[in-house]
């Protein structure tokens, strides 16, 4: 693995192939996803990331089940999300599920937190969309605590309080999964990522690059403000959307019918206009390389690049071919070229091994395989239960 990680991320839409009229079943798409992930590892990509949705035509309702299954069939691939809903999921369940995934995958798990973009998901999960930012702030504060403190006492506005709670399993090697925070245009989320010194991910698809530029700039400056390092040392991830053939003309001819009726941008701007307006690139591998290298011009040196390749009804064989081209023709050049121009002092993309080594060095590791965590937990638990009792007494219970 080089200083940057490259991979694919998926919106998980089930969309009719407009060229054949065929709509894959949920089962076909889900199994196709697994094939995509395995192909990604096979051709040397680093990351597979799933979205999270709770409504048709999407199928990605259960990320850690999916990622755990992929983890069992791969050896090097990092399993991630884009995004995990920090607003409507219980942070306790996120802590448990992703720590479990981290253990099962031997540290190949991280996650990107986001608020989601489907209004009704909030009421379906008993939340209020007007609390979106507040939920993202409060729930992550709890998730962070659960992964950094063996015994948690906690009280907030949006969840039942916790007294003497220990999240299990403890993070692998006492180091929590790396967290990215994703947002298109909410400065509060860039601020949140900066405050914790976590990563910031911009999906960088479907939107004009000005949003990406503004968010990344704010995140970098606040990362430095909170004392985590220089702005250039902040951890940035970007998305991108590509479709490639050996000639630009062939790529456009093949992709255009999918583009023209796609759920997100179909019936709107022309393929050419949308390519101009957003990071979408439809052309040769060389054009994709050139475009992707240009992201650095507005985002700075960054750590993770994920491509969307399975959107808008593209059939599986076509998607696997795209992954193959990425792995064999595009990413090797990107690794080399990005490394060549990378400034000194820019951190490598986060991996579990590197984070464990850093935590050991800094003395912030929670314990070997969670053992010390549990020892700590027993002593802390007594204190916590005392505190709980004190709270109960104060409340007059």
């Amino acid at each position: 693995m080089s200083s940057m990680q490259f991979g694919i991320f998926s919106v998980s839409d089930i969309t009719q192939d407009p060229t054949t009229g065929k709509t894959p079943s949920e089962h076909e798409r889900i199994k196709g996803w697994i094939a995509m992930a395995k192909k990604a590892e096979e051709v040397g990509l680093d990351v597979f990331a799933t979205g999270e949705h709770h409504n048709p035509p999407f199928f990605s309702s259960s990320p850690t089940t999916t990622l755990g299954y992929i983890a069992a069939q791969t050896e090097r691939l990092i399993l991630s999300t884009a995004t995990t809903l920090i607003t409507t999921n219980d942070p306790v369940k996120i802590a448990e599920d992703f720590a479990m995934l981290q253990h099962l995958s031997d540290g190949r798990a991280d996650l990107t937190l986001g608020r989601g973009n489907t209004g009704p998901v909030y009421p379906w999960f008993g939340k209020d969309i007007r609390d979106g930012i507040e939920l993202a702030i409060e729930n992550y504060a709890l998730l962070h605590k659960l992964w950094h403190e063996p015994v948690v006492n906690w009280q907030g506005k949006h969840r039942t309080p916790l007294t003497g709670f220990t999240s299990t399993p403890a993070p692998l090697d006492g180091v929590a999964p790396f967290v990215w925070h994703g947002s298109i245009r909410s400065p509060q989320i860039a601020e949140q990522a900066a405050y914790y010194g976590d990563g910031f991910f911009h999906n960088n698809i479907f939107w004009n690059k000005e949003h990406t530029e503004r968010m990344v700039r704010l995140y970098r400056s606040r990362f430095a403000h909170y004392g985590h390092g220089e702005p250039e040392q902040a951890i940035v991830g970007l998305g991108g959307q590509v479709f490639m053939k050996s000639t630009e003309r062939e790529a456009k001819e093949r992709f255009r019918p999918f583009f023209d009726v796609a759920p997100v941008y179909g019936h709107g701007p022309s393929l050419e206009d949308f390519t101009e307006m957003t990071p979408l690139t439809v052309g040769t591998p060389e054009q994709v390389i050139e475009r992707t290298l240009s992201f650095r011009d507005y985002a700075g040196d960054y750590q993770r690049q994920l491509f969307l390749v399975d959107h808008a009804g593209l059939p599986l064989e076509e998607v696997l071919e795209q992954i193959e081209i990425l792995g064999t023709e595009v990413v090797p050049v990107l690794r080399r070229e990005f490394d060549r121009v990378r400034a000194d002092g820019v951190p490598d993309a986060p991996t579990h091994a590197a984070r464990v080594a850093a935590a050991r060095e800094a003395g912030t590791q929670m314990g070997e395989q969670g053992n010390a965590w549990q020892e700590g937990a027993r002593t802390d638990l007594d204190a916590a239960l005392d505190t709980g009792a004190a709270i109960a007494r104060q409340a007059g219970e």
């Binding site: 930012i133 504060a141 509060q188 479907f206 701007p269 206009d273 949308f274 307006m277």
Partner: protein
Amino acid sequence: MTNPRIVVVSAGLGEPSSTKLLADRLRDATLTALTAHGQHADVVDVTLRPLAQDIASHMLTHNPTDALAAAIKEVIDAEAIIAVTPTFNMSYSGLFKSFFDCVEEGQLASIPTALGATGGTARHSMVMDTAMRPMFAYLKAQVAPTGVFAAAEDWGSASGLDRRIAREGQELADLMVAMPRRREADPFDTEGDAFVSFEQMLGHA
């Protein structure tokens, strides 16, 4: 010091357009009244017809073309707006509404605004109070009390159209002088009032 800028948004579809004609008359009346205040203004025309395709694409993708982005920027950066639409089915035209749908909450707050509408007969004149004013009230613009509706017949009779235009131009000039718009702070400006630090989000500051 640069002059304040008045942006004239007209949603007329014909060429020549009576909607544009009314917008130009409101512009001239405003400039005349400003001169009486000893002030000048620059004027920028934003004609929506050539932006119709761009506006539809924006509605579907949230991505503005360069031309539309420039037009939106003119409007939200202006010191005053004159907005004029034809009346379709008892309301502003869809094009007019769709353009202002590109403007985000708060971006027009406190901006002095003069409204105008055109229509076939005076029976459509309620568009001013049932459609236009509610939308600009939602956008928190400062709207001049007079809103000129020009029916086809007004252009050929002594119906008082000139007087109404002059009064609205005077009102817009008065607003620009006495209650100029306050700029909303940029939430990405970490030194500005609109920026929310993490301590504030946590309720610690």
